[in-house]
Symmetry: C2
Subunit: 144 residues, 2 copies
C-alpha cells in the first residue's frame, strides 16, 4: 500500500497519518509472510523508531484491524498474532504442526462450497472465515 492510499483510508476514519502508523505498516508489509505477535511487531518497529511505545502498537493494530488492513489470528498461545489481510482472495488456511509448532500457509478455495452450503442451510451470510488444521508436517512425519 502506498502512502497516499494509506493516508486516504485513515482520513476516512478521521485518523491522522503519523510516523508510528506508517512505520508499523511498513514492518507489516515487509513481513507479510509472517504472523507477528504484538510484541514481535513492537520489537521490529523499535529497531527503526526506538522511542515508540508498546501501547501505540496495541492501539495501532486495533485500528488496522478495524480498517481491514490486517487480520487477527489465534493460535495456541497467550497472545494474538496478525497478518496482512488477504482481502477478497481470502482463501488461505493455516497448518500447525503439533510437533515443531511451525505454522504453514496454504492456498485453497474449496471452502467456497462449504460457505454456500452454510448460507443455504442456516441462512447465515458468511463474510469471512478462519481455518486452522493441526497435524504433522512432512519433516516431523519422517522423524517419528
Amino acid at each position: 500500500m502506498n502512502a497516499a492510499t494509506f493516508k486516504e483510508r485513515l482520513k476516512e476514519k478521521g485518523c491522522k497519518l503519523t510516523t508510528q502508523r506508517r512505520g508499523i505498516l511498513d514492518v507489516l508489509i515487509e513481513n507479510c509472510d509472517k504472523h507477528l505477535s504484538t510484541e514481535e511487531l513492537y520489537a521490529l518497529v523499535k529497531e527503526r523508531y526506538p522511542e515508540i511505545g508498546l501501547a501505540t502498537v496495541y492501539r495501532t493494530v486495533q485500528l488496522f484491524e478495524e480498517m481491514g488492513i490486517i487480520d487477527k489470528l489465534y493460535f495456541d498461545e497467550g497472545c494474538s498474532r496478525y497478518e496482512l489481510s488477504h482481502q477478497e482472495e481470502h482463501h488461505h488456511h493455516h497448518l500447525i504442526c503439533s510437533k515443531c509448532n511451525k505454522v504453514f500457509e496454504v492456498e485453497n478455495d474449496l471452502l467456497a462450497e462449504i460457505e454456500a452450503h452454510i448460507q443455504d442451510k442456516y441462512r447465515f451470510k458468511v463474510t469471512n472465515h478462519k481455518v486452522t488444521f493441526y497435524g504433522h508436517c512432512e519433516a516431523c512425519s519422517k522423524n517419528i
Copy 2:
C-alpha cells in the same frame, strides 16, 4: 461419561478422581451446548462447590484437554473457551455473527475433501482442525 470410565481414564494418566474434577466434568456435560470460558466454568462449579479455587479450574481444563475430553476454542476475546470434545466425528464448525456475537454450531463434513487435498499436496498429515465462519446470522440479516 460415567464415573467409572472417567476414573479409569484419569488412572491411565496417573491422576486421581477428585470431587472437583468430577464436579467440573458434570458442569461441562450439563452445558455441552455451550462454549464456556474458564471464568464461567468456575462460576458454575462454585455454585455447587463454593470452596473451589480458580486455579483448580485452570489446572483441570488443561488436564481435560490433554485427555481429549474437551477442546480449546479461540474466539475474538481475551480468554479461551472450551467445549466437550466431539471425538471422532469432529466435523462441526462455528459461525460467529459479527453483529450480535452469538456463536452457532453447524454440522458439516465437506472438510474431509480439503484435508485429503492438503495431505496430498503439502505432505501434511491432518489430525484435527478448527474452523470458524464470520458473518451475519438470520436474525441480524433481517434487521440491517
